[in-house]
Structures are given as C-alpha cells and as structure tokens.
C-alpha cells in the first residue's frame, strides 16, 4: 500500500511538471467522458419529458387512428396522409359500436383541417380541430372563458368555434372575443369559448388550435364522412390491452378486414394504449442513447490511444530517469507501477474533469430546454453515467498504459544511463 502511495506521489509530481502536455493529453478523454455524461443525462431528460407529456394526455385513454394497411411490417403510414392515399373507413358508426364496450366510458372523434381565420383585417392560418362534444370531457384541455359546444350543436351543424389561447390573442389582443364572429371559408362562426393556455407537447401547440363541431367541419367545410381518430376514455387501465384488442376486433368486423392472424399491418387503423405509447417512446430514447454511446466509445478509444501515445513519448523521454531509478534500486515492478499509475491517473483525472464538465453542460441543457417550453425536462444524471465514465477511464488507463509501462520496465539501466 505504502509503495502504491509513494508511486502515486511520484506520478503526480511528474504530471504537475508537465502541466501543458498533461492537459493536452487528457483533453480528448475529458471531452469523451463529458459526452458520456451528457448523453446519459439528455437521454434521461428526454425520457422524463416524454413520460410526463404522455401522462399529461391521461393514462386512462386509448387512441384509435387511421393508417394505410400494408403487407410489409413497419412501413405503415401514420394517419394515412402520405402518398396521397386517404383512408376514409373510420367513421361515427364505428364510434357508436365501440362505445358499447364495457371498459369504454366515452369516446370523442376528431378530424383536422388547415383553414384561414379572419377577423376584421387580421388573418390567421389555423389548425382546425373538428371534434365531437365529449372532447372536453375526455381531453385534458380546459375552457378558460365561455363554454364548449354541445352534442346538439354538433348534430345541428352549428357554426360555433372555440379559440385556442394564442389565436385569440393574435386576432383580438386584449379585447373581448366572446360572442364575436370570425370568418371561416367566408362564413361567420360565433366564438363561444376560449381555451385555457396549455402549451406545446410532443410538437403540438394546443394554443394554436381552434375547435369546431365535428359534423360542422365534415359537412360544411371538408365535405367528408370519415374521421381521422378517436380517443376513448376508459374505466380500468389495468385491462386497457384487452379493451384495445376488443376495439380491433370490432373495427376489423366493421371494415370487413379479413385478418385471422391479427396482423396489425393489414389493419387500416391503429389502436394504441398509453402504456404502449410510453413503452415505445422509452424504447426509442434507449436506442438513441445507445447509438450515441457507441459513437462516444469510439471517441473515448481515440482519446485512450492518445494517452498511450503520450505515455510512449513520456517513457522515451525519461529513459535516463528510468535508468537512474533502476541504478538507485527500483525494480521492474516499481517502474511498471510508476508508469501504469501515471496513465491511470491521467485517465482518472480526465474522467473527473469530464464528469464535472458533463454535469455542468447537462445542467445548462436542462435549463435551456425548460426555458424553451420543455417544462417537464428534468435534470437527472443517472448513476450509470458516473459508473460508465469511471470504469472506462480506469480500464483505458490500464489498457493503454500497460504497453508503455512494460517498455519502461524492460529498459536496460545501462543503455538508459548512457544516453
């Protein structure tokens, strides 16, 4: 033990004497280790963000949406918008049938449109959400002023509209909007409510949406009968998977899909429970994290080779020192240990600095993320990040230090001294 302490102090002295070179040597390692920390932390941050965003939709819902059926797995297109193919099979009859399922409390249907809203001289391109009246019961969005439309208004194709917070502000500023009329397709729609501010989630800015009754948008604006999606509120989340399967069976039956193997690729719809959604997102972030780590490991190895390089230089620079130490009584293992400890110290120090740098950077990233609307981004450094960084540093110190150290230990004291 005493030997090792003594050797550490010898190595530390040597490093202190070559401050500039030591810092250049460790730079690659420091950056590599910092990247490890950042990737782990960003991975955890993104996951926390996604989980909390998904949870904010509510865990007690199941989502049913259209998709293009395909014979090849994995190539199905979300919402069937790509390739100009439009799936029109999902409709309100399906909704009526699905609402009969025991675990389904209620369902709302929706379809999206892009339209211009006019008020006086102001024009605003808006995402129109055509939904059924139960939207306001199932979705987490809330009314700020006024009210949502009723089922009766939906069925009578009423020309009413509820504005998202941002749209209201852009068209009306601070003045009162409730009861006023906005023009949509040259037709007046009365504003009966303003939504509470909700912010952006998973790339959707709820405050930029305007809501009108589903049947109004189908008949008066788009001239269609189908819907894009349904969101089911359920009673019991424990059996959500079973309910999802029941939904699939009913829809296959309704859409005349012959699918005895229950191959999701053949369906013209997709049913997702919230748990599946979270699992899917979790898997995605995990793979991204792994991929980034693989890249970083390569950069760490490059850093390690840099350390090895420098250790070789140090050894050849110090041949006469090594010869002297041997003459004064150092044996092979003393010399070997000295250089091994030096390289481990170098990599350990790199890890330490890299961790500090990585933690600071991760903290900054989390602050920047929160400031830019990702409020649920948590600043987390998983323990495995520290463990990976330290393990890697010590292993690479050993691995990349052992050859130079062996070279040093093998030096013949006489030839080393003659230099």
């Amino acid at each position: 033990m005493n030997e090792i302490l003594k050797t550490i102090s010898i190595a530390l002295k040597a490093m202190k004497k070559n401050k500039i070179r030591t810092s250049l040597t460790i730079l690659g390692m420091v950056i590599g280790v910092a990247s490890v920390i950042i990737v782990f932390s960003a991975g955890a941050g993104i996951e926390s963000l996604i989980v909390s965003q998904i949870q904010s939709f509510g865990t007690d819902i199941i989502q049913t949406e259209i998709k293009i059926p395909s014979n090849k797995k994995g190539s199905d297109n979300s919402l069937g918008i790509v390739q100009g193919v439009q799936i029109t099979s999902l409709n309100l009859d399906d909704l009526k049938d699905l609402n009969k399922l025991a675990n389904i409390q209620n369902t709302y249907a929706g379809i999206l449109g892009q339209e211009q809203l006019n008020y006086k001289n102001e024009t605003k391109a808006t995402t129109l959400m055509g939904v059924t009246a139960s939207f306001i019961d199932i979705d987490k969005s809330e009314i700020d002023i006024g009210r949502f439309f009723t089922d009766a208004e939906d069925k009578s194709l009423a020309k009413v509209i509820i504005l998202g917070n941002k749209i209201k502000n852009e068209l009306f500023g601070n003045s009162d909007a409730l009861g006023k009329f906005v023009k949509l397709n040259k037709t007046n729609y009365q504003i009966i409510g303003i939504m509470k501010e909700r912010g952006a989630m998973l790339g959707m800015d709820f405050d930029e949406y305007a809501y009108i009754p589903l049947r109004t948008i189908q008949k008066r604006i788009m001239g269609v009968d189908h819907i894009l999606y349904m969101t089911h509120g359920i009673y019991n989340t424990e059996i959500a998977e079973n309910t999802a399967e029941e939904i699939r069976e009913i829809l296959r039956d309704n859409h005349n899909i012959n699918n005895p193997d229950k191959d999701a690729a053949l369906d013209d719809f997709r049913v997702t429970t919230m748990k599946e959604m979270m699992d899917m997102m979790g898997t995605i972030t995990k793979y991204i994290t792994l991929l980034l780590l693989a890249i970083i490991i390569i950069s760490l190895i490059v850093g390690g080779v840099g350390v090895m390089n420098i250790m070789y230089v140090i050894v050849s620079e110090r041949t006469s020192e090594i010869g002297l130490r041997k003459a004064l009584g150092a044996n092979k293992s003393n010399i070997m240990l000295q250089f091994l400890i030096e390289s481990i110290l170098v990599t350990f120090l790199s890890a330490l600095l890299g961790i500090i740098l990585g933690v600071i950077m991760s903290y900054l990233i989390s602050i920047i993320a929160t400031m830019n609307g990702f409020k649920e981004w948590e600043f987390i450094i998983p323990i495995k990040a520290y463990i990976t960084a330290f393990l890697f540093s010590i292993i690479s110190g050993l691995l990349f230090g052992v050859y130079p150290a062996r070279k040093a230990a093998k030096l013949d004291p006489i030839t080393a001294l003659r230099k």
Binding site: K17, K326, A327, L328, L417
Partner: protein
Amino acid sequence: MLIKIQNLKKQYGEEELITKVLHGLSFTINQGEFISIMGPSGSGKSTLMHILGLLDRLTKGQYEFEGQDVSKLDDNQLAKLRNEKIGFVFQAFHLLPKTTVLENVMLPLAYSSDKKNHIAKAKKILESVDLGHRLNYYSNQISGGEKQRVAIARALVNNPSVIFADEPTGNLDSKSGKQVMELLQNLNDQGNTIILVTHETQTAEHANRIIQLKDGLIVNDSSVKNKRIAKNEKILVK
C-alpha cells in the same frame, strides 16, 4: 572482503556482432579502500564499474559481493542490493529535472524498505556536503559542482557499503572538481569505500590504489606512493 572477482570476462552482443570488452580480470577490494580505475577511452572502465555496481552481468568468471555470488541473484535481488549497498555518482550527474535538491536526494529512499524519516535523513546528508542552504532549489538552479555534491549526497543517503564514481569531475571546472575530490577523500577518511573511474592521473592519485586497464586487461595494480591530498578553503564533511 567487499569485492572479489576472478577471471571476469565481458562481451557485448551475440554471434558475429560480439564485442569482447573485458578479457579476464581478477582482484579483490576491501572495505575502506579508495581505488581509482584508470585507462584510456574504450579500455572498459565503465563496463567494469557497471558490473561491479551490479548494473550489468558478467559474461564469464566469478564475482562475489560481500561474500555473495551475485550470478545467483535475480534482477529484483540485484536491485535491492544496489539500493542498500551501492551508491553511484555519474559524470553527467543524472539528477531528476524539475525536482528539488531534497527530493533528488530522497529518491533512493523511495525504493528502500526503510520507511521512516526520509526528509530528515536527506536533509542531514545534504548539510554534511554543505548544501543545507540549497534544499528547495530545483536541480537546474544550482551549479555543476553543487549538482555533483547533490549526486554524492544521493549516493550516500542509504548508507551504502561502496560508492562508485564514474568520471565525477569530468564535467566540472578544476575548482569544483577539487571540491568533489576533497569530499570523496573525506568520505574515505570516514571509512567509506570508494571506487573511482577516471582517465586523469591527477584525479586518480587521490586514491590509495590504482588499477590500470588497457584493452580489457589489467596492466597495473599498485598502491599510490605520492597520494594527492585535495585542499580547499573549507572542510566539506563534518
């Protein structure tokens, strides 16, 4: 008897590239002797010193150090013996750069089994070679003569049985050279065995006995009649 060699031969290299350097040397050295090994350049003085100093192994012959056949010792045992029994002083000083005088002198203690009072020991030795005022100077901040005295202090710090000095004055001006020789002489007066390698007759005559080498053979081995006594203003060893 401290050192006994019999028919010592040394060659470097293998097969066609063999260089035969020492061709069969025999002598004994006793505790307390001051010996100069002399000879022209290339005669094998340093080679002999390296073998006697256990830095190198002989090719043929016998070498007993303090009664022990050193050919039977492995590298680690030789390192331990060098650490405990042998002090080296080199022409090129070989001090560690960017290291203080005190730390340089402490270096052999780092490899010794003696774990205590390293600083106190090194300080005491440095004071005895009149360098008490240079303890925390870096090795590049002192003069050549001071460097060599640091090297001598380093050779002494483990209280060795013998000190080997290979051309210790070779890189020094005559005044510093004189100081170094006076120091070695005083150490010998106190009972230290000293083996000095030099090719200068004047320097060699500080010893009591001169072994002359030529082409790897001893051509003369005799005691010095007119032993030179180095004199200086100061007495360096107290």
